[in-house]
């Protein structure tokens, strides 16, 4: 069941409502840019080009965004993920033209993959970049809890006070964040089976 507010927002985006698009840009611009930036080896010029492609594809393809299938944010990150994958595949094809197949850019296969990037391109990205991109895919509250805990080294109680939640709620957020992150990182980054296990569960897609 789609959230009513999300449905209304997607509907407004489909109608070309500038205020709604403006709000969407404000809300997601930096995180989409950051996601792309980390996945292209911190290359600003490439990240800027890909980020632009993401947004222009989003505008042109907004009619395909279905509130019943997920949030606008997930859909937008799906585009970002495909654009980054396409970037690496194009690069690979350019460097090795003999590898051309009927689907040289692999666009048909990647929709079945749930990790940060499809496996065939994930290997080309530095691990830290993949982790940073995966963390950016987490919902805000899960990301805040996770970074508070592991990057800032805060206690659950401190995070709870800062977020205005109970300690129990923060524990729950952390648990869900870890679970989602395992799924996103997949077997390449989490080689001991974490990816397999996480991918078998529901809710790993951002």
């Amino acid at each position: 069941m789609a959230d009513d507010e999300e449905s209304r927002m997607i509907s407004a985006l489909k109608q070309g409502n500038r205020s709604t698009w403006s709000a969407a840009v404000d809300r997601h611009f930096a995180e989409v840019y950051g996601f792309v930036f980390h996945l292209v080896g911190d290359d600003r010029a490439v990240a800027e080009d890909l980020n632009q492609e993401v947004w222009l594809h989003a505008i042109d393809g907004i009619s395909q965004c279905d509130a019943l299938r997920g949030s606008f944010r997930n859909w937008l990150f799906g585009i970002a993920r495909r654009r980054v994958a396409l970037y690496y595949r194009r690069r690979a094809v350019a460097g090795n033209p003999t590898s051309l197949s009927s689907d040289p850019l692999g666009e048909t296969a990647e929709s079945r993959d749930v990790s940060v990037l499809p496996k065939d391109v994930l290997e080309q990205v530095e691990r830290a970049g993949v982790v940073r991109a995966a963390v950016l895919l987490l919902p805000d509250d899960r990301r805040e809890a996770l970074l508070g805990k592991y990057v800032e080294g805060l206690s659950v109680e401190t995070i709870a006070i800062r977020m205005g939640r109970t300690a129990k709620a923060v524990e729950s957020l952390l648990s869900r964040a870890r679970e989602q992150l395992r799924g996103l990182l997949g077997g390449h980054v989490m080689p001991d089976g974490d990816g397999r296990r996480a991918m078998s569960k529901r809710g790993v897609v951002p």
Partner: protein, 466 residues
């Protein structure tokens, strides 16, 4: 199982810790450009009411501060408009938009063609901004590479001001393409002139003067007046005066080589004049000076020039009359006072509307946050960001006069609208004969247009008085 989970958590924690905070901010100028592009692609802006509401919500300067900033920004936009207009004007001068080049249709084959040349140009334009007359000084260093490439490096300043805006204009007359560069702002504008009909005749002043000197006579289709001889810098030169809708030009050339020594340009009335001098020929010039490829690191805009038409002149005349107490201007021309005042008023009005756009308000907010008390930095960044808007606006305002400027002697154009009120019935204010046509097009004070035979035109009272 529990141990495995703990190991997983520890590994994950280590990965996240090592990766660090993933937050990364895009370059603010890039972000703003893309934001504007995204919203432009979404569709037209909403009502002024919603735009105003967005400004109200935006937490940028207090009302008085915002007003002060807006005035300053609007004024700066006018300055930017002038800079852009100067570039366009210079482009049209060199590309032959002035009908001086157009009319010399029967070009003799070029003899001992100039391969390269450099010269200097100083221009002084007067501009009635805010009801006051300002002088705009343009100094140019010009480079020519046969057969058709020019590069003009311009420094523009207003009045006695020491702040000079530097811009570079590169043109390929034959390819009908150009490039303007604003080095300070790192802004490149690719100018596509391919939709403009390339004027017949010589493609550079050098070819034209060579023809004049060698033939020693006036072209039948052009008003060319011989000025005799004159000594310039110890050398004897022969002079010719030509006339076009854009400007009168005097060419002084070496009678032996047919090479230019000096060119004087007069835009008519008090609107401005210029001198080209210090011509030097056939030196080695780096072809890269004439490259039409924008330099690396520049923000690129594109202007696609469209062929000016009769409707553009009608729109310009209406604009002038609406800003001039309902009265048509005293004359037509880029330097006409009423034209400049009307286009500047319209520019300010359009800029103020532009400033009400939510994305513009957001841009200002971001720039203010970025530059803080660095007002110069702020204004430069703002000028760069709004340049595409300014260029489009300037292009729109100049189309009408460009149409007028492109009419040559064969078009037999006449303006008779001085002091005439917009809407006056049965009052012709302008007529011309389209190229290749038998009849004239007559524009009336209500801005309607009728076709008329040359015989009927003679019967018009306004035509008789011309």
């Amino acid at each position: 199982m529990s141990d495995q989970l703990n190991r997983d958590d520890e590994r994950l924690a280590r990965l996240v810790r090592e990766a660090g905070d993933p937050s990364v901010l895009p370059d603010p100028q890039y972000a703003q450009r893309l934001r504007t592009m995204i919203l432009a692609r979404v569709g037209p802006s909403e009502t002024v009411a919603s735009a105003t509401e967005d400004i109200r919500k935006a937490d940028v300067p207090a009302a008085w501060e915002r007003t002060r900033q807006m005035k300053r920004i609007a004024k700066f936009a006018v300055a930017a408009t002038i800079l852009v207009a100067s570039g366009i004007l210079a482009g049209w001068l060199t590309i032959g938009g002035g009908s001086t080049n157009i009319a010399f249709a029967e070009v003799v084959k070029a003899l001992d063609a100039v391969r390269t040349a450099t010269y200097e140009c100083t221009m002084e334009m007067t501009n009635a901004m805010d009801g006051n007359t300002h002088t705009i000084n343009i100094n140019m260093k010009c480079f020519f590479l046969a057969p058709s490439c020019e590069r003009n490096e311009m420094w523009t300043s207003m009045g006695t001001g020491t702040d000079k805006a530097n811009s570079i204009l590169i043109l390929d007359h034959k390819a009908m393409r150009g490039l303007t560069l604003a080095p300070e702002q790192k802004l490149a504008t690719v100018v596509d002139l391919t939709k403009i009909k390339r004027p017949a005749g010589p493609s550079s002043p050098f070819e034209m003067v060579r023809q004049l000197v060698r033939e020693g006579r006036s072209n039948l289709h052009e008003k060319v007046e011989s000025l005799g001889k004159k000594e310039i810098d110890g050398r004897v030169a022969v002079g010719f005066r030509t006339h076009s809708n854009m400007a009168d030009q005097i060419f002084w050339a070496d009678p032996q080589t047919a090479r230019l020594v000096q060119v004087e340009v007069d835009f008519g009335g008090d609107s401005g004049h210029g001198v080209m001098s210090n011509f030097r020929y056939d030196m080695a010039l780096d072809p890269s000076l004439f490259s039409l490829a924008p330099p690396a690191g520049y923000t690129i805009n594109t202007i696609e020039a469209t062929m000016p038409g009769e409707d553009d002149l009608i729109n310009t005349l209406r604009l002038i009359a609406e800003h001039n107490d309902g009265t048509f201007p005293s004359a037509l021309g880029m330097g006409n006072r009423e034209f400049l005042q009307a286009t500047q008023a319209a520019s300010i009005s359009a800029t103020q509307e532009f400033l009400k756009e939510p994305e513009t308000a957001k841009l200002l907010k971001d720039l203010q946050a970025q530059y803080g008390k660095d007002k110069d930095g702020f204004m430069k960044a703002w000028m760069k960001a709004q340049m595409p808007f300014t260029q489009k606006l300037t292009q729109k305002h100049m189309q009408g006069m460009m149409f007028y400027n492109m009419l040559g002697s064969q078009n037999d154009s006449h303006y008779a609208g001085m002091g005439v009120k917009l809407g006056t019935p049965n009052r012709p204010i302008f007529w011309y004969k389209p190229t290749g046509a038998d009849n004239y097009r007559v524009m009336y004070a209500d801005l309607s247009v009728k076709e008329m035979t040359p015989g009927d035109l003679e019967k018009l009272p306004a035509a008789k008085s011309e």
